[in-house]
């Protein structure tokens, strides 16, 4: 399983994330950003009203996020779309993640090593992308 390390510094920079899910217009997307830290889970961002993005969401201050695990989970429901689309939707699904406030601002994509599965019929897709917030020296 793929966990990407995003480098943050021991400072007061605000760390932000935004997510863009690129699929067929008719897909209903439910996506969340969860932060696991100190044995707790907190919701940091979510897609609203079936939309295909999570707007810029603050994760907190860099020095308080050290060793946090970030999970971006998306459920994609294709029920409004013709079934003949479903296979192409799974194949062509593209998710872009943008993290900023750390050592460098950086874009990431959903890659084959990440979690991406569909139902047997193909009408529902689940994706998961993990980031580990690793503290590095300035």
């Amino acid at each position: 399983m793929n966990v990407v390390k995003y480098q943050i510094e021991d400072n007061s920079n605000e760390i932000n994330i935004s997510v863009n899910i690129i699929t067929a217009d008719g897909a209903l997307v439910t996506a969340d950003v969860d932060l696991y830290i100190n044995d707790k889970k907190s919701l940091k961002g979510e897609s609203k009203n079936g939309e295909h993005y999570i707007g810029k969401s603050s994760l907190g201050i860099a020095k308080e996020l050290t060793n946090g695990l970030l999970l971006i989970e998306a459920d994609i429901d294709l029920k409004l779309i013709e079934e003949s689309f479903w296979e192409d939707c799974f194949k062509n699904l593209s998710i872009k993640y943008f993290l900023n406030g750390g050592k460098v601002d950086k874009s990431f994509e959903l890659v084959p090593e990440d979690i991406k599965y569909k139902s047997d019929l193909g009408g529902t897709i689940k994706t998961k992308k993990y980031f580990f917030l690793k503290q590095v020296k300035s």
Partner: protein, 423 residues
């Protein structure tokens, strides 16, 4: 222009003949109402209610080419924007033509390219009927797209409320949440430990190294096991969510709300066709091209009472400009170009899986050919018995003077993924 279209036609036939020979699921087969058929006057309906596009609508009739290079009797329709990968931002609000929030406007123009579909048709006529001549293969290329979709403010607001509730419900229906929270916390701790051990390992002396390396390897193995458990649960989650969505009454009501027809839709289409007498490329000639607009006014939930005839009603108007190549009187192979104008309408009532409609189109040729004026008047019905079984029927009078009785009845049926002939 003509040359470009000819090259496109040939290339599309070659590319999609291969695609078309893949196994087609029977539930993807529906009646061929693509512009390619409509320009030849052989579609069950000449005036279709605007819809969102299909990806590869395998309106496949028959791919038998009888040994010739030009296939007879096949049809396909696909959406280029979604069939090929696109990096454009996608949006459910554009798809449903609703506004994002109360301060924004409805998405009336939802993207000509996004909703465009391309069709390719070949049909062999073994007798003279309607606009088709005997022993001639007709090849047509068509495109259509949605130009305008309008929803009322109330419709838009209600769909937005349903979308918001839908998202909340999906989050509630997610399975294995607590189990995954435990695993994600374990994964985080394991990563912290491997990071710590790796840091020590880098600065360790060769004596210390062996023991730390072993601890590091064990932690990596532990992390792999946790990862495998997360993957294993993640694999079953889509099936579990799909089952939950399919059986949840609230979700089913939200789907109905999303699928409500807009109050007005306007589609545009263009089609170009050529005729090959005897299916010989040497006998190729321009047959007909046309541009048309279909505008639909829809009424949702038109009912007598809550339990009786609660369905959707549509009134669709159509205008079409045609450039035609007609057979001259008292000749068998002399054609002359002329223009025609079609206008008419269709009324359609859809209740659950049953749809009944009537359409009328008047065709008027330019002054010199007014003797060719005719009309088309047909009734149509379609009943979806289940995903694998459709009953469709069209009956009435087609354009033209010869053999104008137009009947097209068919049952699309089957089990599994068998291929099907619908002609």
């Amino acid at each position: 222009m003509k040359r470009i279209i000819q090259v496109m036609l040939i290339n599309l036939i070659i590319i999609f003949s291969a695609k078309g020979q893949e196994v087609i699921k029977l539930k993807d087969l529906k009646t061929p109402n693509s512009p390619g058929f409509q320009i030849l006057d052989i579609a069950p309906s000449s005036i279709e209610r605007p819809t969102n596009p299909k990806a590869f609508a395998a309106t496949l009739m028959s791919l038998t080419s009888n040994g010739s290079a030009i296939p007879k009797n096949f049809a396909m329709e696909f959406s280029p924007f979604w069939t090929f990968k696109s990096d454009s931002t996608s949006s459910i609000h554009k798809y449903l033509n609703i506004r994002k929030d109360k301060s924004s406007k409805n998405a009336i123009f939802s993207g000509i390219l996004r909703k465009m579909s391309v069709s390719l048709v070949s049909t062999f006529s073994d007798s003279t009927a309607g606009s088709l001549l005997k022993n001639t293969n007709y090849i047509a290329f068509g495109i259509r797209t949605n130009l305008i979709t309008i929803r009322t403010k109330t419709q838009s607001d209600n769909i937005n409320i349903a979308l918001s509730k839908y998202s909340e419900k999906v989050r509630m229906l997610r399975s294995h949440e607590e189990e995954l929270d435990v695993l994600n916390n374990q994964l985080r701790k394991s990563i912290i430990e491997t990071e710590r051990l790796y840091g020590i390992l880098e600065n360790a002396s060769s004596d210390e190294r062996k023991e730390i390396q072993q601890d590091y390897n064990e932690e990596i193995a532990n992390q792999t096991v946790i990862g495998m458990e997360i993957v294993s649960i993640s694999k079953v989650q889509p099936n579990e969510l799909e089952k939950a969505l399919d059986t949840d009454k609230e979700i089913q009501n939200y789907y109905k709300k999303f699928l409500e027809l807009p109050v007005f839709q306007l589609d545009g289409a263009f089609a170009y066709s050529e005729a090959l007498s005897g299916n010989q490329s040497d006998n190729k000639r321009f047959n007909r091209s046309g541009f048309w607009l279909n505008g639909a006014y829809n009424i949702n939930n038109l009912k007598i009472d809550d339990n009786l005839l609660n369905g959707n009603f549509s009134i669709i108007g159509s205008i079409r400009y045609i450039s035609d190549n007609v057979l001259e009187v008292n000749t068998t192979d002399v054609f002359s170009k002329t223009n025609a104008f079609d206008y008419g309408g269709r009324i359609q009532y859809t209740i659950k899986d049953f749809s009944i409609s009537y359409e009328y189109l008047k065709r008027e040729y330019s002054n010199d050919n007014s003797n060719l004026n005719s009309d088309r008047s047909v009734g149509l019905m379609e009943y979806k018995i289940n995903d694998n079984l459709y009953f469709t029927g069209t009956y009435g009078k087609n354009f033209g003077e010869v053999n104008t009785l137009f009947t097209l009845f068919g049952i699309n049926y089957g089990f599994g993924n068998s291929s099907l002939k619908t002609d």
